[in-house]
Symmetry: C2
Subunit: 664 residues, 2 copies
């Protein structure tokens, strides 16, 4: 087995033996020669007869046809043989064997896997290997042995706050499968929306969703779609807090007098189910009993986060109940509630999961704790014998760079001190896509490509951690996964064009390429309150969480080869020239006018960058006052404005820092 | 009414009173003020109760939400009132009143139309008016009166040569409706594919389509989809030539002994139905009788083009029949065939249309002739009392510039000398998208945006003919129609990324932006024969038919303001710097390596452009030899290579021509 450092060199070189793979397999041995992928490509399955595998082979073949642009008319000899020893579980199952082996030679390719789950992963790796070669599309000869590091590799999608229709769910399932994520955590109810049809309690979706919900047929369709791709579906109905949308139709479940309206603003609501009334549990028993069979996975998420005790404390009946049952505070009341809910779920064949607030004394054993508040609570949970999954550090809605998520390890931080038995109870992790500031148009770009880095952290050996290799491979895989149907790249240009209001959009694009959208905490404007109806059509929404243009410039600024200097000069000139054009088109356009100072700053950065390059190339020392003034300007520009971050500051700052080095 | 010259100035200015509309309405009177389009937008219908209109209002409202990015939660007072006096025909009908009036003021908008057809057009115009203003999205106050110049405004789509699935058909119907095209001519059978399910003759689709055909349910779905958008569907089953795919399943219909295989190569095939056997007409009677009710429109296209007499001449039985019936040649045989087919179609309630080869003595009256070979045959047909539609000059697969189609008028050329009664028989025109060199990925970009220029030619007053105004408005509308779902712009970047093989694609994009794909006659490579299985994944497929980048540079080169000179300099520098980067990534990539000389030429053009700008700015006269040598180089570069046209030559040539002017 190659060392990763060496392997990564091989993979990222100009004449890469192996194309960029992500997540990096556990073992990759480059071979000699290449397998041609042409219009006669076909794949054949042996070993098992399995509908999931057959449809995966068809699906992946069709995708290979799209990604190469080669129409397929299968030949008689299979190019790829998929040998699968056993079907494995009918539904994707926690802990099943997901390993596979992939061999490519000039004669053909072979995937061997003990179960269908592994074979599906092998098909994805095989697709990633295909590149245009000297004579046509080809896959390089290679021997790969692969298996996941963690068994629970999830993506949580919040469809409660902003509605996301089934097409978006499905295409994201395809992209998840492409990078070997295997749990879709479907956050289905929120203060702002109840998103599943209930036949027993129809006012849940009728009065809690503005008509935007999944029918039960659609739920079954999504579950089947996920199953076909080796993905478990874990539903979440968040109780007892986050339930305003439930109360719109069933105010009698509440802890305060109604009526209740669907939430329209963000933040934590005080509304909560009444944990002291038997009717609440009768309702939940029937409701969860209705939902349970829709979701074949044994795990069932009941949320449990951010319960505000305020209504419970203010309600004399609830307080009387608490006193009578010796429940000393809201936490104790919630534990009581959880115990009741756990009993109900158990009756319906389900294992309870909840956010880490549920970790209270007397939490029923067997419960799984999902940690969002930090690694400490995860470590605490597994130390107490619970199983846990990590989400702290993996909040995609914070719009952090991919490297930040990549650096977080489920077994790092507080978990590093656990013994092996305890550590084994950390099942894996989930990246969370909360829905305050994403909609049908932007959600893909807030998940991808950063979730690819997360996927690698969960799948690949821990030693795979070279950040620049990750970025290089992520850039390629980001483009590749769009063939699954996700639109994180495709939706960029139309949003820029919209900002430009029908005018040639180039000046807006130059600015958009130089900024980064801010996450949850940065989404605020003076004197303005976001609601679920606020348009997400500004620069902050169009701009990506991480600028590829700026990232490339940072590398160039660090290296400063002649070619790097030439590219930086081009880009700085572009920024400098862009402002006059931008100002001309911004006037009278509400979406652009607020960006005028930003565009001016970008032009100034271009000028500063050019000047800095000049100092560096001539070896001249800049005046100290100039340097100090520019550094001050950069510091000012690094403060977020209009909900974006002027990423363009970074490469310029690198150059200034270089000029400021004492040795110069 | 404003004169068009003035109006166009108003529309294309920086502070346009009215956003770019296309097709330009018959009458546009800008008003004062603006109507805010916000989340409370809603539209209400009065006058008629009509499902088509109601669904159009919902559809357009949803599209306005997408194009603005503003989530809609309709208020109680309608923003837009649609007043429609009568439903009009249940199915879109040739010659129905399509007029409408649209009034926008700061208080609201109103569409008035005598029929649903007109109201649908009014909704599209209203959507085009919406732009981001100083306080939010808005539509400017305006009074519009509008009606079409021609009643038959069609797009022909060939799904025979390359299969195009229903999603592509549907999204193109949406885009057609957006620019007021009203006939979808569906070319359903070809030598290379028979694309409709026949229950009576199942071997047609089973053996003639590689499994790629529309079920009858899908046909009904497409017809209903089109009807909802005011679009007639005219099916074409091309007979007696172009029938190889029919003969694959039913060789007994042929004029030569079988067996026959689906065609895989392009060009004109010799295969033709046997016009002398009664069984042929029995087959056609039953088959056309099966198809007729699927298509409610009375017009039915039987093709009739490119019939090669060779098999008929070589078949002694056919020759004996011809002699016996006094049919002196293949033309006479085809006329006999057409008469028989016309009788069958009439029996099934249909009016026959055919390509202009059917115009032979004794062609049955009432037939409609579609002219593809030139305006003369159209003029001849209408002079003889037939009705006609023009397609010559509107072949989208030739990848001509939009201006070329825009310059062709159905009443121009040979039709200019017709009397008014004859001219009235020219019903309109159809743009034709033939399928040799388009597939699922490229067909949209070969139709749009150029078909928008065609749509304006057919809809707008003849005096609307300012080419630069057209290009300015087309650029905006090209972006706007992507909100209908067509992907002519969206599919560009993924194709460039594919060419780049996972590497950063910028050098490929710079080259792609500077070239134009060649049409039918330019799709050839030495020693290579295209088939229906040849991948369409090269630069010739990714490159657009017309480069927006180069078009803007041509305007700049003609004007040469300081800002123009700055932009030209940037672009020339980009070209000059691009080649080294391109060469580095092209090596070993079959899709790029053939483009290496082209990239080198582009770099040379950049250098020449910079030099020319220098001469122009300094007022210095270039040496005559330099000028001659550069002009010669440009002439060389203007010769097509690797199936593309180096469009970048044009702005450079403009500068050289300016330098060569004797007065300088």
């Amino acid at each position: 087995m190659l060392r990763y450092a060496l392997l990564i060199t091989l993979l990222s070189g100009a004449h890469a033996a192996v194309p960029p793979l992500m997540p990096m397999p556990a073992k990759v041995e480059p071979g000699t020669g290449r397998l041609a992928i042409d219009g006669g490509f076909s794949a054949a399955v042996s070993g098992v007869i399995d509908q999931r595998l057959d449809s995966a082979v068809r699906r992946v073949t069709a995708r290979i046809s799209r990604q190469t642009g080669v129409p397929m008319m299968p030949g008689t000899t299979p190019t790829l043989r998929v040998e699968c020893s056993a079907r494995g579980a009918q539904n994707p199952t926690l802990g099943e064997d997901e390993s596979y082996q992939l061999d490519v030679s000039s004669d053909g390719a072979r995937i061997q896997a003990p179960t269908v789950a592994g074979a599906l992963h092998g098909l994805e790796t095989f697709s990633q290997l295909i590149v245009p070669g000297a004579e046509g599309f080809e896959a390089p000869a290679v021997h790969i042995e692969d298996r996941p590091r963690f068994q629970w590799r999830g993506l949580m999608l919040d469809v409660g706050r902003h509605w996301l229709p089934i097409e978006i769910v499905e295409r994201n399932l395809d992209a998840m499968a492409a990078v070997k994520l295997n749990v879709f955590h479907w956050h289905l109810s929120e203060d702002q929306g109840f998103r599943v049809e209930s036949k027993l309690y129809p006012k849940l979706h009728q009065m809690g969703s503005d008509g935007l919900y999944f029918t039960q047929d659609e739920v079954r369709r999504v579950v089947a779609y996920a199953r076909d791709r080796g993905i478990r579906v874990v539903p979440e109905f968040d109780i007892p807090g986050h339930t305003t949308s439930w109360l719109a139709g069933y105010p009698e479940l509440g802890s305060a007098p109604g009526p209740f309206q669907i939430g329209r603003t963000w933040g934590v609501y005080e509304n909560a189910l009444d944990p002291t009334r038997e009717e609440t549990y009768q309702f939940l028993d029937r409701f969860l009993g209705e939902m349970a069979p829709l979701f074949p996975d044994p795990f069932f998420h009941i949320g449990g986060d951010e319960v505000v005790g305020k209504q419970w404390n203010a309600n004399t009946k609830i307080q009387a109940f608490a006193k009578q049952h010796n429940l000393k505070d809201a936490h104790a009341l919630q534990t009581y509630f959880n115990q009741r809910v756990q009993t109900i779920l158990k009756k319906h064949g389900k294992i309870m999961i909840g956010w880490d607030e549920i970790l209270q004394p007397d939490l029923p054993q067997g419960t799984v704790v999902q940690s969002w508040r930090g690694g400490e609570s995860l470590a605490k949970a597994v130390a107490q014998g619970y199983r846990g999954i990590l989400s702290s550090g993996y909040y995609l809605d914070h719009l952090q760079p991919a490297a930040a998520h990549y650096a977080v390890d489920p077994l790092g931080g507080a978990a590093a001190n656990l013994d092996s038995e305890q550590a084994a109870r950390i099942l894996g992790a989930e990246a969370c896509m909360w829905g305050e500031y994403v909609d049908w148009e932007t959600v893909d770009s807030r998940i991808w490509p950063r979730a690819v880095a997360f996927a690698e952290r969960l799948w690949s050996p821990r030693e795979v951690n070279d950040v620049e290799s990750m970025y290089t491979r992520m850039a390629a895989v980001s483009r590749w996964i769009e063939w699954t149907g996700v639109r994180h790249r495709a939706n960029y240009a139309p949003m820029i064009d919209r900002l430009a209001g029908g005018n040639p959009a180039e000046p807006v694009r130059v600015l958009a390429d130089a900024v980064e959208g801010l996450g949850l905490s940065g989404r605020k404007r003076p004197g303005f309150k976001y609601t679920s109806q606020t348009p997400l059509n500004r620069m902050a929404d169009a701009a990506r969480p991480e600028s590829e243009v700026v990232h490339a410039m940072q590398l160039a600024a660090a290296r400063r080869s002649p070619e790097d200097a030439a590219r930086l000069t081009e880009q700085f000139n572009r920024w400098a020239a862009n402002d006059a054009r931008f100002q001309a088109m911004a006037e009278g356009n509400v979406l652009l006018v607020e960006l005028k100072p930003l565009s001016k700053d970008l032009a100034a950065l271009g000028q500063t960058g050019l000047k800095a390059l000049e100092y560096l190339s001539t070896g001249q020392r800049p005046p100290a006052e100039w340097l100090a003034a520019e550094q001050k300007e950069i510091a000012r520009m690094q403060r977020p404005a209009v909900e974006v971050n002027l990423a363009a500051t970074r490469p310029v700052k690198l150059l200034l820092d270089e000029l400021a080095k004492p040795g110069r």
